[in-house]
């Protein structure tokens, strides 16, 4: 079977004599990879780079004739990030946390991340205006406000991190359940999740709300996760999910404390199998050294207390917070081994691959460069057992993995690494190779008919790490794991069109002057400051 490409799109046929041919016989051809959640740009990532010089000096890339030099293992520099993604066959990458105030910085960095298309999700869960509108139960007005924010920050989806917790963190507190009152605002985390879910629906945004749950990283938090999923169940329409639970591994802990920690993957998988309004991504951990960074300030503070590591705390004025802690996942640690198990259990116990996607929550669970290892674990029981032999003994006894025989096939891997993610993001032209799709194609040198992934998992791992060809927008950019052409990727953003244009009230401009460190006029990201702008127009219901 042949795939024809013209002008960056997949077409029915091209003139065979004139066209350039790529021989992919005996190889596996997939759409370019799509990563729904990985922190690759923004002030948080950049502060992580500053915090960790020791992350750089062992892992560096030399300048070549086509590529720039770069450093970094868990938080590579922008250009290196793009090259490394491309060398794994990824062509679309979503940067999931962008405080609106830092949008300009984030887009500057994304402009410098070549080879991949990218988008950012503005953090709106603890945004003062959102909290205010929600406390007055004014969902329509909030929807118009979010539409304005999407255009202003050039964002793509609504990101909610520890709803309410980040506002409470401004007062040195946290919230511990969906019902807890947030200081100074008459709202609860449940109101925030439900309110923004309604907004998401009113605005017809292509992705769902992207939620990092409350109590993330605390033993016993799987119940909160179940409640969070349940609380928007009635808002879902039949054909579209209503909520995306991100890096679910960190939200699937069962047990009283760290000593009695167990996996809550079974309960979560059971819920997801019975309901169709949820998608999630794994947030798989990979043993080794990495850097954790989330907008969840209180969680990061707890982590730095736990590990005694250096720590960055960042309060983004009225919008959100952030924290960064270097971290090492150890095989011999009971907790880390259980975490490793939870991620894989989730992916294997959730029957429908369109509901769970492969991520490491880069760099929180491990750098994205270890995706091929996760693919091997998902595809081969033998690979899981090989790692299992080396992990903490007690964790091995508690892990459900020993009782799971499921092995994902190549088809399912294509879903969890690209097709499913593209569908969940509402990116119609990505994640498939049908006529009209973007010509983002990855060719891996592994023959699915000859190589049995469950036995020869090492070959599969190598093939998914070092791509044979990556084609971006119809241009061959990587050949045999080497960049042959450096291309710019586009920045995807939403232009949400409300029934009447959103005008920013004088009242809001006044508040900008009072509460923000920047003037209102300096706040919006202009379209011409994006490297290659790709506007997606969305018609809203308000």
């Amino acid at each position: 079977m042949d795939i024809a490409v013209r002008d960056g799109k997949i077409v029915e046929r091209v003139n065979e004599r004139k066209a350039k041919k790529v021989d992919a016989s005996g190889m596996i051809v997939m759409p370019g990879g799509v990563d729904i959640h990985c922190h690759i740009a923004g002030s948080e990532v950049n502060t992580g780079r500053l915090l960790r010089p020791e992350d750089h000096f062992r892992d560096f890339e030399r300048k070549t004739i086509r590529t720039r030099s770069g450093v970094g293992h868990s938080i590579p520099s922008t250009f290196t990030t793009g090259y490394r993604y491309s060398r794994m066959g990824y062509t679309t990458v979503m940067n999931p946390s962008m405080p609106p105030l830092e949008a300009k910085h984030t887009h500057e960095e994304l402009n410098d991340t070549p080879m991949v298309d990218k988008a950012s999700y503005p953090l709106l869960g603890d945004w003062w205006f959102a909290l205010e509108y929600l406390s007055h139960d004014n969902v329509d007005e909030l929807a118009r406000h979010v539409a304005w924010i999407m255009g202003t920050t050039k964002g793509y989806a609504i990101k909610i991190v520890n709803p309410g917790g980040l506002e409470a963190w401004g007062f040195g507190q946290n919230v511990h359940s969906l019902e807890e009152q947030i200081p100074c605002f008459d709202v609860t985390p449940r109101d925030i999740v439900r309110g923004l879910c309604k907004v998401n629906k009113l605005l017809n945004l292509p992705h769902t709300i992207h939620v990092h749950t409350n109590n993330l990283g605390q033993p016993g938090n799987y119940e909160t996760t179940l409640e969070t999923m349940e609380c928007v169940k009635d808002l879902a329409s039949s054909h579209k999910p209503a909520i995306h639970i991100t890096h679910c591994q960190f939200s699937a802990f069962k047990g009283e404390d760290w000593r009695t920690l167990e996996s809550g993957a079974e309960e979560i998988a059971r819920y997801v199998n019975c309901n169709s309004h949820v998608t999630m991504d794994m947030g798989q951990i990979v043993f080794g050294d990495t850097t954790t960074m989330t907008a969840d300030g209180p969680f990061q503070f707890g982590l730095s207390e736990l590990t005694g590591s250096k720590w960055v705390n960042h309060d983004v004025e009225t919008e959100t917070s952030a924290g960064i802690v270097p971290f090492r996942y150890r095989r011999k640690s009971y907790v880390h081994a259980i975490q490793w198990s939870i991620g894989l259990e989730l992916a294997l116990l959730i029957k429908d691959p369109w509901k769970i996607f492969m991520t490491t929550d880069h760099p929180n669970g491990g750098p994205f460069t270890s995706y091929s290892r996760i693919i091997a674990w998902l595809m081969s029981r033998k690979a899981r057992e090989a790692t299992m032999k080396r992990v903490n003994h007690r964790a091995r006894g508690k892990s459900l993995l020993t009782s799971i025989d499921r092995e994902l096939g190549y088809q399912e891997i294509a879903i969890v690494t690209r097709a499913g993610q593209a569908k969940a993001l509402g990116l119609g032209s990505k994640g498939h190779l049908g006529i009209g799709a973007d010509a983002d194609i990855a060719v891996y040198s592994v023959n699915p008919e000859k190589i049995d992934a469950s036995r020869d998992y090492k070959k599969v791992r190598r093939a998914f790490k070092h791509v044979a060809y990556t084609i971006k927008n119809g241009i061959i950019v990587v050949k045999d794991d080497e960049i042959v052409k450096s291309v710019e990727g586009s920045t995807i953003w939403l232009d949400v069109q409300t029934s009447e244009p959103v005008c920013v009230a004088e009242d809001m401009k006044r508040r900008f002057r009072n509460y923000w460190t920047v003037e209102y006029e300096n706040y919006p990201v202009a379209e011409n400051s994006l490297g290659v702008s790709k506007r997606i127009a969305v018609k809203a219901d308000v």
């Binding site: 915090l51 960790r52 010089p53 020791e54 992350d55 590591s309």
Partner: protein, 270 residues
């Protein structure tokens, strides 16, 4: 034995992690000349920069003659054998060394014995900053082995140290044993101050004058003499301080009483 002579006076830093007994073992002089090094941003071979003399006996013994102050990473990650430098040596000498011995008859740059795990480095001259300390920001300090310095050392000797021993027969700069967790540091002469800042374990012995003890250390008592290691005893009396309390630390700082009369006021807390 392999002897290396520099062919010129070096202007640019040279990264030569291949100068180790492990890399030289079993190679002829010609093969050794073909090993890659970086001079500034250019890749070169060892033979372009050095004259390699091989007497065809044991090539796990390497001697470097001449001024090697620009040569970095001599003996990096070595596990056995011996390197003798007759002259100065550059930065990162014996980085991540696991075994064997390095002797330098001259001065050494910064990060000597950085992240060392075993073996011995003996330096008959002065040493720059960060001896035994890891790369900036890293917590992987020296884990084992021994560094002996007959001259003075710069700042932050033994930072983040987790094991092993550093013996300094001269003076030491500031922040000796910064964030140290275990192991021992012995300074025979004076110490510039802030010794043991943020330490949580291990021992520091100061035989000379210590400008001041950090306020986050408490006095625990005095001792007539302390043993540093087999065959090395510090005769006192010595003050014993515990700290760093700001880090809930349990490290010990031994300071000579005779040379530090300005610390006498601590005695009233005993």
């Amino acid at each position: 034995m392999v002897i290396l002579y520099p062919l010129k006076e070096f202007r640019f830093p040279i990264i030569a992690e291949c100068i180790t007994p492990d890399a030289f073992e079993g190679k002829t002089a010609n093969e050794i000349e073909d090993l890659n090094v970086w001079e500034g941003n250019r890749q070169k071979t060892l033979g372009q920069l050095f004259k390699v003399a091989d007497d065809k006996t044991e090539n796990s013994r390497i001697t470097l003659c001449g001024n090697m102050a620009k040569i970095r990473r001599i003996g990096a990650s070595m596990t056995k054998g011996e390197i003798v430098v007759k002259g100065n040596a550059g930065m990162h000498l014996g980085e991540e060394m696991k075994g064997g011995k390095i002797a330098v008859y001259g001065n050494v740059g910064d990060w000597a014995g950085s992240m060392m795990k075993g073996g011995e480095i003996e330096i008959h001259g002065n040493v720059g900053n960060y001896s035994g300390a890891p790369y900036r920001g890293s917590k992987l300090g020296m884990q084992g082995g021994k560094i002996i310095v007959h001259g003075n050392v710069g700042n932050e000797a033994g930072a983040q140290m987790k094991g092993g021993m550093i013996k300094i027969y001269g003076n030491a700069g500031q922040f000796v044993g910064f964030r140290m967790r275990d192991g021992a540091i012995y300074v025979q002469k004076d110490c510039a101050g802030r010794a043991g800042a943020c330490m949580v374990g291990g021992k520091i012995f100061v035989g000379g004058m210590l400008e001041s003890v950090l306020p986050t250390f408490t006095i625990d008592g005095t001792k007539a003499k302390v043993k540093v290691e087999e065959g090395e005893t510090v005769r006192g009396p010595l003050y014993v301080f515990l700290g760093d309390i700001a880090e809930n630390g349990d490290g010990k700082l031994y300071v000579s009483k005779a040379r530090n009369s300005h610390l006498g006021y601590y005695e009233k807390f005993l």
